[in-house]
């Protein structure tokens, strides 16, 4: 641990002692803190395996939504595709007939990369196919969804309940079990 890191930590401590205000809140609105429903966003869906070119509304009111922000340059996102696929096969549009909810689970992966100038929609489709994607994949071209979720990293996985309230969100790799648990919680199982 270097000198500057200690200085930084000391600085943090000093800020704490100064005691102005409560915990440092960053990046504005945190959907997890106020329990408000996330607004609906209309995103461009992409032509890719399991996905049709058009528009998709997310989150869908009335169903649990599993939303993953990703990027094609992101290695962890690649590895997350396998467990996401397994959970999708189990709980996605074809699979789930919940006892208490009886509804579907909306699965959606969203890249927020700038598309069209260097990285293209075809690049995303190729990536999607190479990693066995088979559900809807969309683009957050204007970063509105990214901003609303205050997503500062990818992969960023979010579960929303049927009222579109964020009930769980985490960055990084997740196993099948780690993904299933918050989804079932949102389903009320």
């Amino acid at each position: 641990m270097g000198v500057h890191r200690r200085e930084l930590l000391a600085g943090t401590a000093a800020l704490g002692v100064a005691g102005v205000g409560a915990a440092v809140t960053v990046g504005g609105w945190n959907p997890l803190e106020d329990g408000a429903a996330l607004a609906e966003f209309e995103l461009e869906s992409l032509e890719a395996p399991g996905s049709e070119a058009g528009t998709v509304v997310v989150p869908e009111r009335g169903s649990v939504t599993v939303l993953e922000l990703f990027a094609t340059w992101c290695g962890v996102c690649e590895r997350l595709m396998e467990p996401m696929g397994a959970v999708y096969d189990d709980l996605g549009e074809r699979g789930y007939e919940g006892v208490s909810q009886g509804g579907d689970v909306q699965f959606l992966s969203v890249t927020n990369e700038p598309l069209g100038r260097t990285t293209t929609r075809a690049d995303v489709a190729s990536w999607w196919e190479a990693h066995d994607g088979r559900w809807t994949v969309a683009s957050d071209a204007d970063l509105e969804l990214t901003g609303a979720l205050d997503a500062t990293a990818v992969p960023y996985t979010v579960v929303l309940d049927e009222a579109n309230v964020v009930t769980w969100s985490e960055t990084g790799y997740k196993s099948v079990e780690e993904l299933r648990e918050p989804i079932f919680a949102a389903l009320g199982e």
């Binding site: 930084l8 990046g27 992101c74 970063l143 990214t146 990293a153």
Partner: protein, 255 residues
Amino acid sequence: MVTLTAGCTALDPRDDGDDHLILGQPDQYDMLREARDGGDLAHPIYGDELPDATVPCTLHEREVSTAEFEGERHTLFTFIFARCHAACPGLTASLRHVQDDSVDGDYEDRIALCNVTFDPEHDTPAVLEEYGDGLGVDYELDNWHFLRPESEADARAVVEEQFGCYFARNEDYEGEGGGHGHGDGDGNGAGDHADEHDDGENGDSMEMAFEHASMIVLANADGYVERTYTGARLPSSRDLVDDVRTVVEGWDGGD
């Protein structure tokens, strides 16, 4: 210590009403300022002058100095190493988002995006260019700079001492092909979470060659820092683009 010039009355750029800054004060600025002035914060913050650094730029085969952008371009700096598979690609991608927006907003000639490596031994010009290609960087816009200090000592002088961005070699790192993990020094959730599960393709080690702080510095074309984003203050790409747009448009409207 001060040289007065006609028409310039605000000597302290942090004073209210100052014309060196476009953005308002960041959250908890008073505490940050107290920590910074007390020597507890290693990095420049809102209102500080951009560090005066000169570093070779691999894409343009010349030295780039931070001062050369004064009066010309607003600047974004971030600090990376190309082998990093956790926080760094996200930092670089954030600058790429701004680069793409600079085309939409017609300000590509008024922004400089500077990606500074602290691993010059590994990050040769070719490595850096390929790294940028993988993240969709558009070199033809001529506003992207890979800054590569000539040695690790030079990197320490610029990245850590001038910009206050901590980095350290990871002594447990086992070398090339050693995996994708990350130290806990990056302050970035993605990196930390990724580590715990890294059983990656390249080996068993969960370590990476460096641990480091994640930091993005936004300075205006007068050479004053408008924002330093680090740790929990890292912005979403939306927020970063919005801040840059505010600076660009405020600058245009303020003259």
